[in-house]
Amino acid sequence: MSERLNNDFQFVEVDRKGPVKIAAAVRKQQFAEIYEPFQQKQASEQAHRCLECGNPYCEWKCPVHNYIPNWLKLVSEGNIIKAAELSHQTNSLPEVCGRVCPQDRLCEGACTLNDEFGAVTIGSVEKHITDTAFAMGWRPDMSKVPETYKR
């Protein structure tokens, strides 16, 4: 693993930068992703911009109160599996929320950095966590979930 990021001023020195958008002409031909996925390095850099505010406004604004600063920190440290575990504690479909949530009005809208620095790319990182964890073979732990016979 590369060196762990440790820069208190990451939010000043690194700008908010989401993943690359796929051209509309391409997207017109297919029913697929709008954005290219994050690379590990980029996800870590963006996640490390989080200030870890004492009162996380993002977490408070999120309807399911995701532990956003905590898994952003895990991603910046490269600990995807732990991040996925944590992300699934509050949300059963984080990869879907990462794609379809109106982050600009919720977590990213509430982000301390949103006003003057550009919010942390919370949605893209959320997507990145579960996608990467799935690709690594991780699956949510269902052993403790009781069967309800309702699906």
């Binding site: 000043v12 200030l51 505010c53 009162n55 003057e116």
Partner: protein
């Protein structure tokens, strides 16, 4: 004096008032906790209401309330808070969090990282220039509304001035409580006057809580040296000292630091030669450029917080006892000292050089806990030390003469390790130690140290070098030279 609101704070407040504090702050656990760890936020302190009532009643009961101002803080936000605090006994009110919020604080709780995104709690120029939005008017505005609300509440209870309001516990009523348990809380002790007659003052009656000790010697020292300090010319003065003279040298140190900075007069020092027995805190906050020579002995806290300069203490020429067997300075010397030199020809008490971060000291024996929490500097002990040497020591190093081979059992093994100074590869340290003792002899004429140097080959094998485990042996001396405080 700021006191944490907790059970028993009233007793502490009385002690502080007796020690001539002008203002006591009872600090509650709410409010500004920006950089504190969550464990402290959750588990430390208690509400200011409890501590304030306790302090106010205790001070009145002990006839001290009229001598000291009482302040409270801890999450005060509105005029109602001010009125309640006044009723419980405060005449001064501390606000931290709210004025900060008024100038733009978003309560990020990262004040300790210097990267406050609102530019409030940072030294970073870019953040301060581009992202700080606060103005004085915002704070003024906030306080104007607090004052206005305070007046409204005071008017509604029929009180005209703060003076009348302080201590009026009769204006508070106990509510029934929203649950059965809540209703059963006994709040009467908070709302009582503790049986103290009403004519005892409720507020501070004096402008200044004058101490009994007028610090005559300090005044005299400043008179003598005032011109020399102003001209930066140096000088030498003879004085006698008694153990009633406390904190000797503090005032002249202050004058030096004010005129020339902490270390600005190093090359032209003023020197005071004392004879007698020094009281507590001899040479406290000693500035570079002040040298205190004492023939006699000193009490506790010699050189507390000293920043530079020199303190030399040796026994009177008339005595016949051996200096290395006799105590010459008291406990907790050099507490938190940051630089300078201390030579004391005799033994020190407990906790010598606790939190020392830069002083070079030589003594001839020490009590327990020597070099506790030391982070820098050099301590040389030419004799026996007590137990728990070097507990929590993370910087600097020490030489200890161990005549009866007991040091291994005495030092605290957690953070420090010890080496012999005698072996071949320690030649550099051997020479260094010798030069340190030579410097000590020059200043004190110690017979014991002279004996050691004259028979250096016999004694060198009995010296230990104590260093933090984290420091490398090779770098110690270089580090010492690069920071020659």
């Amino acid at each position: 004096m700021k006191l944490v609101s907790r059970p028993g704070v009233g007793t502490i407040a009385c002690g502080v008032a007796k020690a001539y504090a002008d203002l006591i702050t009872i600090s509650g656990y709410d409010g500004g906790t920006a950089a504190s760890p969550l464990t402290s936020v959750h588990y430390a302190g208690s509400p200011w209401e409890l501590g304030l009532a306790d302090a106010h009643q205790s001070l009145r009961g002990n006839h001290l309330r009229g001598k000291v101002r009482l302040q409270t803080d801890g999450g005060l936000k509105t005029g109602l808070d001010v009125v309640k605090a006044a009723i419980l006994g405060a005449e001064s009110f501390g606000f931290g969090t709210m004025p900060m919020v008024a100038v733009g604080c978003k309560y990020l709780r990262i004040c300790h990282l210097n990267n406050c995104a609102t530019g409030v709690a940072t030294q970073n120029d870019q953040l301060r220039e581009n992202h700080y939005r606060g103005t004085v008017e915002m704070v003024k505005n906030y306080f104007r509304f607090v004052a206005e609300e305070t007046r409204q509440w005071m008017a509604s209870v029929g009180v005209r001035s703060m003076e009348e309001l302080v201590g009026r516990v009769d204006l508070l009523e106990v509510i029934e409580g929203s649950t059965a348990k809540h209703g059963k809380l006994n709040l009467q002790p908070l709302l009582s006057d503790a049986g103290i007659p009403a004519e005892m003052p409720q507020t501070c009656q004096v402008g200044h809580n004058d101490p009994y000790d007028l610090a005559d010697l300090n005044t005299k020292m400043l008179e003598l040296a005032e011109q020399a300090i102003a001209d930066k010319s140096g000088g030498e003065y003879e004085l006698t000292i008694t153990n009633c003279d406390r904190s000797v040298g503090a005032r002249t140190s202050g004058a030096i630091a004010k005129a020339h900075g902490n270390l600005g007069m190093q090359d032209k020092p003023v020197r005071f030669n004392f004879t007698g027995h020094a009281g507590q805190s001899f040479g406290v906050w000693n500035a570079g450029g002040q040298e205190l020579y004492l023939q006699g002995d000193a009490n506790d806290y010699v050189g507390k917080g000293m920043a530079g300069g020199k303190i030399v203490i040796r026994q009177p020429e008339t005595v016949e006892y051996a200096s290395n067997e006799t105590t010459i300075i008291g406990n907790t010397c050099l507490y938190g000292a940051t630089g300078g030199t201390l030579y004391a020809a005799g033994c020190a008490g407990e906790r010598f050089a606790v939190r020392n971060s830069g002083v070079h000291a030589v003594i001839e024996g020490a009590g327990d806990h020597c070099c506790e929490y030391m982070t820098g500097g050099l301590v040389t002990v030419l004799g026996q030390v007590g137990c728990n040497f070097g507990a929590g020591m993370t910087g600097g190093f020490a030489y200890v003469l161990d005549m009866d081979n007991t040091f291994v059992d005495k030092y605290n093994h957690e953070l420090v390790e010890i080496h012999r100074v005698a072996p071949q590869h320690m030649e550099e340290y051997k020479n260094h130690l010798r030069s340190v003792i030579m410097g000590y002899i020059d200043a004190t004429d110690s017979a014991w140290a002279t004996h050691i140097v004259e028979n250096f080959d016999d004694y060198i094998g009995r010296f230990w070098l104590v260093k933090p485990k984290a420091a490398s042996l090779g770098a110690l001396l270089n580090h010492m030279r690069s920071r020659p405080e």
